[in-house]
């Protein structure tokens, strides 16, 4: 898994490449922890290059969503591949986190 961050508009875009699973989610959690510690409160997580997510990855996304809500922040997701979208739909997470078709659309809806 690779994570890259870039400032876009009023938010921070976090691109995740590879697999977000039980093995890689601890390093994703650590990145998110650092991002929140830096005071970022508007996040776009860009999943265009994410090939796979398991419940460990969902747990990480839910944890950061809850933390952001507690500080009046916001998180949105962008560009989910079919398999990733399917996992969000099965788990009902698509109802609690806004999902946009593209990164641009996600940034403009922050």
């Amino acid at each position: 898994m690779e994570i890259t961050k870039s400032k876009e508009g009023k938010g921070l875009v976090i691109s995740v490449k590879g697999r977000l699973d039980a093995v890689t989610s601890p390093s994703f959690d650590k990145e998110m922890e650092e991002t929140l510690a830096e005071g970022e409160t508007a996040l776009v997580v860009d999943f265009e290059h994410l090939d796979y997510i398991s419940s460990a990855g969902l747990r990480s996304i839910l944890a950061v969503t809850k933390q952001l809500k507690a500080r009046d922040g916001r998180i949105v997701l962008a560009s989910l591949k079919d398999i990733v979208r399917e996992v969000f739909e099965i788990s009902g997470f698509n109802k609690i986190i806004p999902i946009y078709a593209s990164r641009e659309e996600a940034v403009s809806n922050l």
């Binding site: 090939d51 398991s54 419940s55 809850k66 809500k69 009902g92 109802k95 609690i96």
Partner: protein, 132 residues
């Protein structure tokens, strides 16, 4: 039938998922279906790794049975504490953010991704069968 036995710890997850991918390709499954199967197996194994052997040191065996016409059955066997994951209640998918617990989705995911799931305990062994 092909099988692999691995130590029941997270460091061996990738080996397990690679083994499954190879068997799934042999059985003629396509890319998205293979990812769904890997996801289901990861969720099953995550439970085994976390709960089956409180004192550590156990192993898990994965057996794959081609069922013909692009179908594959997987059996996950451990000799840990008895655990019928099918007896667990499904999460409330309509709950709002504040009421969604962190965790508890793994079992639900593999139940939804496979076309049949069965649990049985034979002597000292937990056997979870998934059909794709």
């Amino acid at each position: 039938m092909r099988a692999v036995t691995l130590p029941a710890s997270l460091e061996h997850l990738k080996e397990a998922l690679d083994f499954l991918e190879a068997r799934a390709r042999e059985a003629g499954l396509d890319g998205k279906r293979i990812l769904e199967m890997q996801l289901a197996l990861e969720e099953v194994l995550a439970n085994v790794f976390t709960y089956a052997y409180p004192d550590g040191g156990g192993v898990v065996e994965i057996r794959c049975f081609p069922e013909g016409s692009g179908r594959l059955a997987i059996e996950v066997r451990d000799r840990g504490i008895p655990f019928d994951c099918l007896s667990r209640k499904d999460p409330d998918l309509e709950a709002v953010l504040d009421d969604r617990p962190i965790g508890g989705l793994g079992i639900f995911l593999f139940k939804r991704l496979s076309s049949r799931v069965e649990y049985r305990r034979e002597d000292d062994t937990n056997i979870l069968s998934l059909l794709f």
